[in-house]
Each structure stands twice: as C-alpha cells, then as structure tokens.
Amino acid sequence: MEQQKNEVLPGTLNLIVLKTLSTLGTLHGYGIARRIEQASGNLLQLNQGTIYPALLNLEQMGWIKSKWGVSENNRRARYYSITPAGKKQLAAEEANWRRASEIMIRFLEPLGENT
C-alpha cells in the first residue's frame, strides 16, 4: 500500500527550491527534484516537471542563475545556483513562512489545555 502523499502547497514551491539550492549549492533540475522528494521523506506528491516553470520564474526574478555543465555520469545538464538576491529573498520568505505556520499551529492547538 502506498502511503498518503501531500500535494505541494500553492506558493511554496519557490521557497522549497530556493532553500534546496541554498543548502546544497549548485544542482541540476533532476537533482533538485530528487532532493525535494527525499527531504520530504517521500511524503510530497511532486510532479517533477513543475519545477521547471518555477526555476524559470526564479531566474527571471534574478534569485537564481543557471549554466550548462556536465553531470556526474557525463550527461549535459543545466545547473542552478542561488544568487545573493535569492538569499535575501529566501531569508524573507522563510521568516514569513515561519510566522504564518506558527500562527496556524497556534490556531490549531486544542483550546483550554492550560485551564
């Protein structure tokens, strides 16, 4: 039986990609996708293809940059890495996300635990 998987929350893919690149440095698209799956403990239902429009978007915003290189098994691939602007954006979004999820968590805590 396959365990239940979660969809990527809308608007979070950018953050996930940025975080991945910031932690692991330079990666190709497949690498990023794999990493995301692993990091989520395979709990995230990701259509791998969707990261490419996201990567394009991030690059257009100037948060990541890309260049063509050769993979470990000699395959031509495009390598992405985060830019300084991307790091700033990541910090801002991370803070945002933490705040938002804290609020959500607080909201969902059962009431009256302290009473």
Binding site: H28, N47, N57, Q60, R76
Partner: protein, 885 residues
Amino acid sequence: MTWLRVFIHRMRGLFLKEKLERELQDEISSHLEMQIEDNLRQGMSPDEARRQALRKFGGVEQVKESYRDRRSLPIVEATLQDLRYGVRMLLKHKAFTALAVLTLALGIGANTAIFSVVYAVLLRPLPFPEPERLVVLAGKGVGGRLIGSGVAYPDYADWRIRAQSFKETACFLTTSFNLTGVDRPVALPGRRVNWNLFQMVGVKPELGRLFTEQDDRAGASPTTLIGHGLWKEKFGGDPSVIGKTISLDGNPYEVIGVLPPGFELLRRDDLYVPLGLWFTPDNNLMKRSNQFPLYVLGRLKPGVTEGQARREMEALSQQLEREYPQTNSNRTATAVRLTDLLVENVRPVLLVLLGAVGCVLLIACVNVANLMLVRSAGRERELAVRLALGAGRGRIVRQLLTEGGLMAALGGATGLLIGAWGIASLTTLVPANLLPLDQVGLNPTVLAFTLCVSLLTGLLFGLLPALHASRTDLNTALKEGGRSVAGAAWERARKGLLVAEVGLALVLLVGAGLMLRTLQHLTRVNPGFKADNLLTVRFALPGRVYDKDRRLVFFRQCQAQIAALPGVRSAAFVMSLPIDGSSWNSPFVVADKPVPASGEILWAAFTPVSANYFETMGIRLVGGRVFTEAEMTDSPPVTMINESLARRLWSGEAPIGKRIKQGFADSQAVWREVVGVVADVKMNGVDQEAPLHVYLPLAQRNSSSVGLVVRTMGDPLALASTVQRTIQSIDKDLAVSNFRSMDQLLGNAIARQRLTMALLAGFALLALLLAGVGIYGVMAYAVAQRRRELGIRLALGAQTSDLLQLLIKQGMRLAGLGIVIGLAVALMLAKLMTSFSSLLYGVKSTDPATFALIALILLMVALSACWIPARRATKIDPLVALRHE
C-alpha cells in the same frame, strides 16, 4: 525594477525562441534519462523504468506549455500566431483575398490621392506667421464671388486713416513687366506693392533685403525684388544677382532681394516693384475715379475678427458714399480672409471630391464587410469547434480582428501605390492655373492619413464579422452539422449594408451625372463668336517707348504684316480677350436719359477694338455698321454696343444715333454716338452671362496692354512662332509669348467643371462597379444558402421561372430600397452642390432626367447582378441539392 528585469528576460524569450525551446527539450530529456538510470539501478525493467520516469515527471507537454507561457510575452506570441494564421487564411482563399484587398486598395488609393491635394491646397499652412489674420480689402463681390473689383487710391488713403480693425495695411496692384536683356524678352507677372507689404505679411527674403520706405516714393532709385522661381530659371540661382540691374519695360531696376520659395500672393509673381515709384500727381491712379486697380492686404489687430473688419469696411464705404456720391455710390467694400480667397475656386471642387472618395471608401468597406460576413458565416463551424476546444471568445474576436487588420494593411499598402499613381496622373490631368499642384505629394501627413484610414477601415469591416463570431451559439452551430445558421439579425445587417451601398453609389452617380450635364451645357454655350481657328496672345507695349500715336502705327503695321502671312485670314487687336475676362469695366451715362440715381448707375465692359475685330472674330452685326479704318483720333467719337445693352436701354427704340459717355455724369470723357449693335460675347468665362458691352475704336482709345486675335486657316497654334517672329521683327524687345488658341481659352474656362466631372465620373463608376460586385456577392451567397430549399421547390414542381422571380425579387427589393434612399440623399446633397459651390451650370440640382436615368442605370446593374446567381440557382439539380446536405 523586478518587472523590468522580467520583461527583458521575456523579450529575450521572444527572439531566442528556437534556441530556448531546444534547451528546454534538452533539459527535460536529460532529466528523464537521469531518472530512468536511477530507476534501472533500482532494478526496474527498461520499459518500467521509462514509464515510471514519465509518470513522475508529469505531463511533458503541459510542463512545456506552462514554461513557454512564462518564458516570453504571451500576448505578443498570440498576436504573432494570429498573424501567421491570418496570413495562412488569406493565402488559402486567394480569390477572396485579392478581391477584398483590391476593393480596399481602390478606396484607400482614391482617398490618398484626393487627400494629398486637399492637404496641399486647403490645409497646408502658408509659409508666413498667422496667415489667418491677413485679410484682403476690396470691393464686394457679386454672383457668389468673395471680392469684386479693387479700390481707387484715394479711397484706400481714406480707409487707411479711418479703419480701426487693422494693425497695418498695404496695397498692391497686379500687372506684368517686360523683362529684356536676359535671354529673349519675356512678359512676367508682377506686382507694384507698398514697401511695408512683405514686412506685414511676415516673409523674410531668401537673399538680400526687402523694400524700405525710401524705395517707395516717386523719384527713388528703382529697385525690385524677384521671386524664387524667376531667380532659379533666369539667373540660375546665382547669389550675385543682388545688386545687378535688370531692364523692366525698358527701365533699369536694381535687384535688391530674392523672395523665398513658396511665397505667393494669390498667384505666382516673378517681380515686385515699389508702388510709389509710379505715383505722379497726374497719374490716373491718384484720382477718385472709376478705376479700381488696387487691392489691399491688411493684418487684423489682435482680438478683431474677420466679421468685425468686414462690418467696419461696409460702414466705411457708406461714409464715403455720402461724402463722394458721384464716384462712390454703390461701392461696398469688404474684408475677406486671404486664406479663403486663395481657395475660393477650388474649395467646393475639393470638398465635393473628398465627399466622393469618402463614399467610395465607405462602399469598399461595406463590400468587404459583407464579404467577410459571408465568409465568417461559412466559417461558423470552424469557429465553433475552436470554441468547443476551449478557445476564449476574446481570443476568437482577436483572431478575426487580426485578419481584418491584415487585410486592411495589405489594402493600405496597395492603396498607397494606387494613391501615388493617382497623384502622378492628377498632376498631369489638372491644369496648373486651377490648382497649384507642385506642393502635392506623399508627405508624412498624407501617409499618416492613409495609415489612419486603413486602420479605421480594418476596424470597420473586421468588427462586424468578429462580433458575429463572438455571438455564435456553440450548440446550434455544431448540431446543425455545418449548415450555417447566421442569425436573423446578421442577415438583416448584411442586407442593410447592401442597401447602404446601393444608396451611396446612387449619390455618387447623381453627382457625376449632374456634372456631366453641366459640362454638356458649358461646351454647347454659344460664346458669341466663332471659336475655332483663332490664335490669341496678350502683350504690352512699354509706355516709355510707345505713346498713343506710336501704338497706332504699331497696330497698323503689325496687323498688316500678320494678315499677309500664309495661312492667316485676318488679324485684329482688342484690349480684353473674350472669355479671358474684361479688364476695363466702367459706369456710363446716356445722353437722352435723365441722370440715374446713384443706385441705378449702369456699368459695362469697355473694350477698344480695331476696325476688323468683329469680322475676324465672326461676331454677328445686329444693326448699324462696324468701325472703319477711317475712324481716327480726330474723327467724330463713335461707339458700338452689344444686344444686351441695346435691349436694356432702348428696348423697342432704334439705338443707332444715341449717345453715351463713359464714366459718371460729370466725367470728362467725350460723348460717343452709337453706330452699330453686335451680338453678345461672353467676356468673363463661359458660365457667366455676357456683360453689358461698349466697344470703342482702338484709334480713339487704346492702352499699352493689348490682345491680338488671328483667324487662321488651319491649326492656330502652328502659326504661333511665325506670328511671334513677325511681331519681334517690328520690335525685337517686345515680350510676346503665351500664345493660346481660343479653344484652349474656352477649355481653361471650364477646366474646373471638367476636372470635377472627370474625377467624379471615375469615382462614380468605381462605386457602381463595387455596388454591382456587392449585390452579386450577397445574392450568390443567398442562393448557395438556399440550395436545399430551392432543390425541394424544384422537386415539388416549381418552374425555373418561379425560382428566378423569387430570387430576383429578393435582390431587387434591397436594391430598390437603396435607390430610393439614395435618391433622397442625392437630392439634398445636390442642392448643396449648387447653393455653395456654383459648380453646376445650365442644369438644376433636381434635374429629373439625370435622376431618372441614374436610377435606371443602377436598376439595370442591380438586375444583372441578381440575374447571374439566380440563373445559376435554376440550374440546380434537385437530386444533387438534396443529397448535398
């Protein structure tokens, strides 16, 4: 600034499309292969590895599509796509495209050509500051003319002192000068002007200086300003012309300046000379007499309107009339904008033509809109399928508008070519004295106009089908299995367009018809003399060389020598050539009648002629005798009058023996006895009534400016150079050029109407053709639509004649409606054509014959346009028609 960055990125995407597409493909395939390798490593079979990789990736095409959307600018991409698709559609339906584009091109081309003329003549600003504040002051015009005669100098002097409306005024006198010593002697148009005229107008000399006050008085050293054209033609544009002395009418003048190109005062002048040089106390000009050679130009004070100035001038003339009842009675002055005067003759022509080409363009648009409607109805299924597959309605409308725009662009480009060709042929077709066409051409303004017109037409005929398509009801369109279900509203729209088209064509045809009738009348007008085989020329005998007696000697000698030339029957001198305009108009008094009240003083054209003038011209003698060679300076003063004058003064009495005197009652002129009456002769153009006319013997009265008429045996112009040589053998310094046959003079006189007629007829025929095509198109479509119905009717036993009747009735109902509406509109517009443009002659704006004939022609064309498709419908094989569905 992020948006800019993204924009630049996306622009890049637009241009590097193929490279980026390849990279995307590479990236995805390398992604997939890596995944497959990983899968293989996990022990999957190759097939399974591939399937799993693809599954994990998600839809490759969807990813690509959403990637592409982000990569570049979707709006631009979509437009490009629409354009590509549009081009494909246009290429696919070549005949349709060609027809539509040609129709539009004709409409746009005609508009471009006419607009270029309208712009050059009516809209282009004059090359000096605030031209709209310049007014011409002169006698009030009659018969729809803006101004009449000029003004006498003393009157002008009074105006200048009393008038409050003007910042400044200056007067000028129109004349011509014999330029000798440069090439052959030539007579050149010129003006004597007040020194301040050019400063007031605001023109700067191209070279040298303008006149000063010192130049403009009697006894000053003679100076002249020359026009740019003369400078280029006669002096080769050499700047050293400044300071040179040239000989005008035998007198030396120093050239002090050259006026800039394009500077004209109501006509092209080559020479300007200060007016004051010419003033002597005994000069006729200084008298408050009956000669009115001066025209005045004034610049309005700030805040004063043309109307205020005109009212002031009218009031001023009433003052002068009270002060000088003998000379100033019945002389009302007026003020007219220079810009209005410039275009007085051509404005109505151009407005009529502009209206006409506007109609042609509208018809073209209607036609193309109809064609597109017909086609879009045929495309309903295609559009419905596209809608069903998820295309937005906006997207479909945009697609159709793009197709319309594309067609308009093609039409505009082709139209521009046709327009350029039209301009070129207009320039050869139009006589130069009618329109100054040297300024006409494809300039940026005209190009902008063409662009706007094209865009507008594209919108106009693209919008209808687009709206149509956007309303398409998906279900019905698909369900009906490809049969068009154009709604009743659209059917009505198409019929309405057809009616409009027929109406517009009728309006144009009526306009052309009326002009044709006008021209017919004008060419049939009896001018009062025999016009064929007549050679004419005007020239001047310089006053310095020729006094009255020497002039007479010259006339005799010249006349005899020319009459002796082979091919010449006779030659005669006359002061003003018929048709060309009477140059001397004067009041007169009659001996046996009481002195008329100031309001009833009669004016006549006064024309000194040589004794054989009437015989040479072939003017019929009605009573009495003609002048004889014996009538010399010292013989008793005599005169001849025309029939109109005889009838006016002595109807029922014998005019012979009566006496008249030129001028007012107190004039010093001699009493002359009437010795003969001749038929009326048209003096001022073909469409003007013959004036009251008084002839004087040349021996008793003549001036330096004369006209020569030569009756020839063959082609008159072939003799021009011989006649010129003969005259110059008598005096080599005489400037004699510009020979014209009387036929040419007559032709020039009706050039305005002829041009209007020719162009209007061309446009009307075009409109007729387009309307015919339009009717045909709609009928053919209707027949195609009703194939099945017609087949059933035939199968049920309908006769072909029944079907024919059915179909033709349908088409003719529309055409008939269009004709009726068109007739009503044409009636209104034709009235306009007479009331404010005096273009018509000899034909009423409501001429029933024209209207009836035109309606009939249009009916015939409509009938044949209906007949052909209807006829084809009756050939339908019922079996085929029924199976066809």
